[in-house]
Symmetry: C2
Subunit: 207 residues, 2 copies
Amino acid sequence: MVSEKDSKETAEKKIIAAAREVFLEKGYDGARMQEIADRAGINKALLHYYFRSKEKLFMGIFVEVISILIPRMKEAMSGPVSLKRVIEIFVDSYHEIMLENPNLPAFVVGEIHRQPELVVEMMKQKGFDINMLKFFINQQVQMGHIRPVDPVQFMVSLVGMSLFPFIGKPIIKGIMLDGDDAKMLEFLTERKEFIVEFVLKGLDYAE
Amino acid sequence: MVSEKDSKETAEKKIIAAAREVFLEKGYDGARMQEIADRAGINKALLHYYFRSKEKLFMGIFVEVISILIPRMKEAMSGPVSLKRVIEIFVDSYHEIMLENPNLPAFVVGEIHRQPELVVEMMKQKGFDINMLKFFINQQVQMGHIRPVDPVQFMVSLVGMSLFPFIGKPIIKGIMLDGDDAKMLEFLTERKEFIVEFVLKGLDYAE
DNA sequence: TGTATATTTGACCACCTGGTTAAACAAAAT
DNA sequence: ATTTTGTTTAACCAGGTGGTCAAATATACA
């Protein structure tokens, strides 16, 4: 009973790990069941034994990825602290996630484009919600800590600034930084501080 | 001779138009030669008559897209005008391009991820170069118009803020704006002014 | 006109794709 | 020990894929 469960779990987990790799690398259309099986070190038929179809396997992976992402975004929006701290946490969170999963941004962008409604529905279902942040920003405005701004404009700016370095990494490195890895690393290191300062100034934040 | 050229050009152009549509919509892996032929209203074999392979056809489209994009980005970086005006032109350019080609951002992101070196090489070859803007920003710093900033950090911020609304449109609309089209339109309309003001403040720009 | 040349097509092909199945194998349960 | 249950595999399949080709059609040329 024990060893049975064990082997099932390891096999299933090997599949999930491999599928995650391949789907994140190649996207749904570019991914091949055979390659997933190969990377998992198992027979292709076993994929269909555990997950009925490519679609089902993909959805499993996608749900998992979203489920990991959402809590970390919520976490950044929840602490009842200073605006500066909220922004810092937000930026740090994004950088950490993206450094750990280099293929994530392109993957998510691709899925948003492929099945927008589904992604939105899933994010909603997983409890992604920006009302708390909206409230927080409006409060900061009322207290006179920052100038009057649309919280959505602010948020889109923050996310855009945080995400784009990873989405456009090859362009930034290849064209703006002479293809120099060291420069890119330096750029990313400085990026966090830059964003925080830039955004706070953009909001007329008075410390 | 004349009509021959005409029919060839119209057939070729119908193919290019259809291929552009399909590739931008579905990406390289998701695109099907049959669908391109159908949308062009021609036989699939004719695709291979004009363009030898899917790869070749795709590259043609991709070069074309990049070739349209680059000049408009250079244009924004060239005018010897005020920083504010440069940013305005930049933001306007991006918005115009993205409104005209809704599938462009996801497509480009996908290609950057699929063949980073190739995209970089192609952009370089097409004359994409940020040295002028770097110089301009450094000049502005020296003249005391803005605080000292890394031009690359600035530029990535500007592009990120401009692009992200289009990349993440379904999320913004679906989750942040209650799926309300009118709100989304309003958001995009206000976006341009917001970015200009936000960025200028972020740079400590003194008018 | 007839002939050469370019364009367009239907039929076809080899290969790859996701997916199935029956049988072998391993492990628990009795 | 043997049956029962769950796991893993090799072999296979139908449909789709990019790509080809010879024939048909249109066009330019003499």
